[in-house]
Symmetry: D2
Subunit: 295 residues, 4 copies
């Protein structure tokens, strides 16, 4: 079993995940571009490394949780990236939301150094991370996944094995984000029709979320959409557009027409063009309201 783990990226998600690892008894070597962000986890027992590449543990695991494809490439295969220092038998457990292509590219890079790549994006917000309640997706070589599993289990409530292709976990993660956006648009259209009939939007939201759609996505976003409360942003709309673009690129590459994703893309793009990129992604529903002459 691993004793020491490297960890890059101490944002809203990364920090509580490190706390979970510490609680589970791991030593954790952490690096963050902005050193101040490391303070909480250092106080809780994590070890700070000065240089990014020092997160590499000989033959061990390095976890990354950064904001996008570009950041992931930079910390891994950039000039100062830790990837150059990963030795034989090491594993890069990559938990950011990135494209399948990026995962496949990094897996190939690590393969050349006889180290491994496991794609492992998560479902769950910072509070779920803090409570070890994340749902964790996992794809990569079986041997590598066997070793990462206890580490993943220390951070979440369940780990889903999605096969050997390193891109698979990313496909499922992106598909989930697409399905959330589709649910938001569907709710908005339905709530608008209710409102135009004189029905309170919040009553409509509550009916659906307590009957047919009694689950997190409809409960949480239903209330935001009914109240048109789009700030502060839990997840920024422009990141939603980025994910939707990743979905459509993958759909294009794999010859899979996705008409709902196309509509969502046009809606997100219009939202950004109207200056709403920094609002919560549920603000994509404002277009439907405006087109109904509401608000």
């Amino acid at each position: 079993m691993e004793k020491t783990i490297g960890f890059v990226g101490l944002g809203n998600m990364g920090a509580p995940m490190v706390m979970s690892l510490l609680k589970a008894g791991y030593r954790v070597k952490v690096y963050n571009r902005t050193p101040e962000k490391a303070e909480t986890v250092i106080a809780a027992g994590a070890d700070r490394v000065e240089h990014l590449a020092d997160v590499a543990v000989p033959g061990g695991i390095v976890i990354t949780m950064v904001s996008n494809d570009q950041a992931l490439e930079e910390v891994t295969i950039g000039e100062k990236g830790f990837g150059h220092k990963l030795e034989e038998g090491s594993i890069h457990l990559s938990m950011s939301t990135v494209s399948p292509e990026t995962s496949r590219k990094l897996a190939a890079f690590h393969g050349k150094h006889n180290s491994h790549y496991v794609a492992s994006p998560v479902f769950g917000r910072p509070d779920a991370a803090a409570a070890q309640k994340l749902f964790i997706l996992s794809s990569g070589s079986s041997k590598a996944k066997e070793r990462t599993k206890p580490v993943q289990e220390a951070m979440g409530q369940r780990v889903f094995d999605l096969g050997e292709d390193p891109g698979n976990a990313n496909v499922i993660k992106l598909g989930g984000n697409f399905m959330i956006m589709a649910a938001m648009e569907a709710m908005a259209e339905s709530f608008n029709l209710a409102e135009k009939n004189g029905i309170d939007r919040q009553v409509a939201a509550e009916v659906y979320a307590s009957t047919l759609f009694n689950c997190t996505v409809y409960n949480g976003y239903g209330s935001m959409i009914a109240n048109r409360r789009f700030e502060p942003a839990g997840f920024q709309l422009e990141l939603g557009l980025k994910d939707c673009n990743l979905v459509l690129e993958e759909a294009n590459a794999k010859q899979t027409p996705m008409p709902f994703a196309s509509i969502l893309h046009d809606t997100l793009l219009a939202s950004v063009a109207k200056g709403r990129g920094k609002q919560d992604w549920s603000a994509l529903t404002r277009i439907a309201s405006e087109n109904a002459g509401l608000k």
Copy 2:
């Protein structure tokens, strides 16, 4: 409190609802166009009436649970309809899935006879009806709803008050059916992308239904769509198209553009044109699969 209740329509839903009323201690006078369908409830203690109009109880409640707008109009205001015999203070508790317009029209008709109309469609399949677990929507005059509430509670687990306009409950019911169809299309697009990446569709379905979308609709339909098992039909696709048309008519009347509903309409219409009207409505997802070159 009501002692005797009239009931028209003893199909898959109506029959178990009558059973619930009998269990709760009501006397129930039943009528069904096909008399054989009444046998089970008669055996359980319901009273059969020979003529449709005889379901009317002086000053009491008549429940209808029939298949569509046309059937509802016929049993209510048709030549032999019971509506002509409803006396002052009577209530028509209309539980079928029909258009808001039909509800408004029948409410006006009953109003002329000083009787009342409460629109009360339900969420739930026959097994939920048998277990008194239906979710029951309710709209109409407050006084009438006050009287129908204990009767509705005898059949379901919760009653939602949606205001005075008799069409409101129908709007919410149709909006719910639209949201189910939207969820089905979103799942299909996501599962197809997974399959095209070599991921097992059922694994994809399970990941989503046990994490972000842990609710009835995604659990039940997710499995059907992943397995492409569209028969036997729980709810026929051509009825889904009918409901989608009702949604779009209401959306048109109320100037509420619904782009997802428009896509679903085109998809359902194509499905019917291809001869799939009698399959389960989840078969609307076959178009997305075919367009991805699958199956």
Copy 3:
């Protein structure tokens, strides 16, 4: 050959059409709800009738050119409608833009009186009507069409025979209006992309209209859309929505999914919800501009 023709509806189109008939040597008995509108054609030699039904010529032809389905039904089969007075062998030459269903219904009505119905909507604006340059569609029984042909030729530059089903000419007319709206949306999307790249919209419009799309629709509407000049209305947007609804109803009845028509419907509906129903129908393109953050 006919000598005397009845004519109902002296609006922007009807009046110049009567003038064409007078020039061709016909006597024309005219009726208009607002008598003042008849003055010009009376001055040119037309005969005014006091009562609508008096436009009927024994065994002869009555032309109608009114604003919509409802108006057509009223003047034909309403209480005072001329249809009750059409005798054996008479022909109703119906030139308004109405639904195929209305045509089929009126054809059946006339059939009961042994008179005939020829659906005959036109392509062309008032200036084309004034110059006898209309394109005239024609559907109905062959015998009736044979008799109406010289009359139609007196008003237009070409008559297209579309078969025996009286609804056919209306289907083609509605399909044409749909194609115009589709062309407008396509131009708008393309011009917006050009504008966002710093290209003058009018230059873009001119390039397309003088090369690939050198025809009336792209020339005329291209310039309006490039300049965003939507008033005065040549054809009101709310009438465009009406026609789009007729297209979609027919598409639904005939199981013909029309995804472009669905998008146009949502766009027109949003335009009306935003208060643009009285602008020219080319104002449907404002939604695309707004969604690109333009204007």
Copy 4:
């Protein structure tokens, strides 16, 4: 004035364009990857060069007419590309259909060598090229365009100046291809509705193409779509998909939602997934027919 011109790419379009230049009195140095394709123009007086880079004329113009972005980059800035040999004051007149981004990238490359780039895609098929009837778009620095204009005029009937940004001409070209595809889809939906009403598709096509839409695109493609004659391919559907992807990438970069382009993308993608990538791009209309239950 130029006396000698270099020319790369002697396909269906390039060969007749070289013939036009020869007729106009230019000397033309030609290169083609497959030497046999050069034979006709050699016989007509063109000079063959052995090595690609030898098409460069000191201070002169090199025209490229190749199949896609990748081929253009290869012949220009690839290892053996002529771009490395363009001297001060030379002009690359780039007439292929490529993305605005490729044009901007190559313009920047040439700029470093003090040579110039003029983007100059064309509208017109091989027969138009043979008859000097091409419509020629042109964007780049004014000085360079001044010099290329007589050369362009030798190959076409009109040259459109689209400004200084080298990407502009490509934007207009792509927008035109998008508008052609939109017109094809609109025709298909309309013809299908006609066919479902029992109207001959070819009659419908003829009505539209001889009235409202009397222009090349509707005449030519209308007949192909009405007859469902999709082979041999004038322009392959998979190239249409490529262009549609370029449109959507540019639309995404410029925050310009294009709902019709999104629908066309999904339709083209489905067509390729169904194995129709080598058919004429008008075969995109088969999806609409199939969805209507038509052959």
